[in-house]
């Protein structure tokens, strides 16, 4: 029995990590479907992303003759790093053994690792598109990362911890508190998420025919299972940011114990939250037009400004009292 009690949380953690893998294509499919509906199309089925992945895994992976081993290794590294990062973010339950590593700095580090290899892979072949995409990706992330860290530190200052699980616990313990700093941090984090996951108005995930593409330009040379891993990682990243925003700012409903009912509620609630976020994203992508790439820094500067205001607002309005 004791054995079971220590084993169960680990099992839950593993299930949660697998859930990220399983949910990611679903969210992508849902997003595409909502967008199609908003544009008066019928759109593909919800399960289309799964079929795409399945198909790609079955295909032969062609690699350019100029590619170095790094090019082959990159998809695995990117995928694993992103997945690990996702596994640190509490999805349906808070108090899991993985909470110990669920640190916001670890998260940022893992994502940076994934991005680093993605950019390297983009440049590896030596095509114009790959290099261009990599340089753009680096520019965007160089601007987005400080904003993200600052926004997250605002939260960390409130919770007195950089641990995601303790942040969520602190939020839940405080009940409904309107914090000006959280409002700004949320705004900043949403903008960062949009930029990092390559959504409109920074990047357009639906096409690789534009000269302004970023993410698609880097993975242009991949095929077969390599491409599948890259796409899957991108989908996981989207879920990761969704879960981060949903659970840190609106943690209500997340399971705080391992009781089956709590877990079921947690799973259901997070699913609803993610679906709702996806709807909001789809609407904003339909309404907004993609910016010229040179305008993107302005958007990220806004994110930085919001994060900064969040930090200042926290210091002035909350610490000051």
């Amino acid at each position: 029995m004791d054995y079971l009690l220590t084993f169960l949380p680990w099992l839950l953690a593993a299930v949660q990590a697998l859930l990220y893998l399983a949910l990611a294509p679903l969210l992508a499919g849902w997003l595409r479907r909502i967008k199609a509906r908003l544009q008066n199309r019928r759109g593909p089925s919800l399960w289309q992303p799964y079929r795409d992945l399945y198909k790609l895994f079955g295909k032969e992976a062609r690699v350019a003759t100029t590619a170095s081993p790094l090019f082959r290794a990159a998809p695995y590294i990117v995928f694993v790093a992103t997945w690990l990062a996702a596994a640190t973010v509490p999805l349906i339950a808070v108090d899991l053994p993985t909470a110990m590593v669920a640190d916001i700095i670890v998260l940022a580090g893992l994502l940076a690792l994934a991005r680093f290899f993605l950019a390297l892979a983009g440049m590896d072949i030596g095509t114009a598109f790959g290099g261009m995409g990599a340089s753009r990706e680096m520019l965007v992330s160089a601007l987005a990362e400080p904003a993200m860290l600052m926004a997250v530190f605002t939260l960390a200052m409130t919770a007195h911890s950089t641990n995601l699980a303790s942040m969520i616990d602190a939020q839940l313990a405080a009940g409904l508190v309107l914090r000006p700093s959280f409002l700004f941090a949320l705004g900043a984090l949403v903008l960062v998420a949009i930029a990092e996951t390559g959504r409109i108005p920074v990047d357009n995930p639906a096409t690789h025919l534009e000269l302004t593409m970023i993410h698609e330009a880097m993975i242009l040379e991949y095929s077969g299972r390599h491409l599948a891993l890259m796409e899957w990682a991108a989908q996981i990243k989207l879920v990761l940011y969704g879960a981060l925003i949903a659970n840190v700012f609106f943690p209500w409903g997340i399971a705080q114990s391992t009781a089956p009912t709590a877990l079921a509620t947690g799973a259901l609630v997070i699913l609803l939250k993610l679906l709702a976020l996806a709807v909001a994203l789809a609407i904003s992508e339909t309404v907004l037009a993609k910016m010229r790439f040179f305008r993107a820094p302005a958007l990220l500067n806004l994110a930085l400004l919001l994060a900064l205001l969040g930090l200042l607002g926290h210091v002035i309005l909350e610490v000051g009292s």
Partner: protein
Amino acid sequence: MTLAELPLLQQLLLVLAALVLFTSFVLLEQARLVSAIHAFAWQGALIAAITVIVATGGGAKHLYFSALLTFMLKVLLIPWMLHRQVQRLDLERHTQALRRPALVIMAAVALVVFSYWLALPMVAQELTFTRNIVAVSLAIVLIGLLMMVFRPQAVLQVLGFMSMENGLFLAAVSTTQGMPLLVELGVAFDVLVAMVLFGVFFLQIRDSIESLDVDRLNRLTETVENER
């Protein structure tokens, strides 16, 4: 007392105050005149909302009146007047980007920090629930000042001026639950007259330099005086 122990209404107050600060930044950076006027109107609306909340929380009855005054003046009348003038001067599509935006925004952030530092002794005194907004209001005043320095366009300068006035009003509401009614009316009257005069000046400036870029009002400097 931490934030979480405050009643919800007062937390809302802090959120609104933070949003006012945000509109100040938006105003500072906004390139399109019409959008800047809208941002200004939003700022006024937020301040009116803050005034109402303070009135409910603090039981100061005359604040309802000054909230109404703010709403009429800062949300409806002045934006409307500016809008009409912008239309009449054919500036509706006029945009003017902020020069060296990063530097100016950093300066504005520095001003926020500075006003926090300056307001500390006041905040450190015993506490009413609005006291910690005083730093925000001072920051809005100073950012308005910054805007008047870095936006050499007559309409934007007027917006900077008016947002300074907003900051002052917020300061009065947050520190002292509003000034005596007589003074408040006098201030509102002065603001209104100033707005009318600004309108007259837009026309005069346009007639004299055929633009509203006050950078081109540069005949009266000491150096030019010397060369003459």
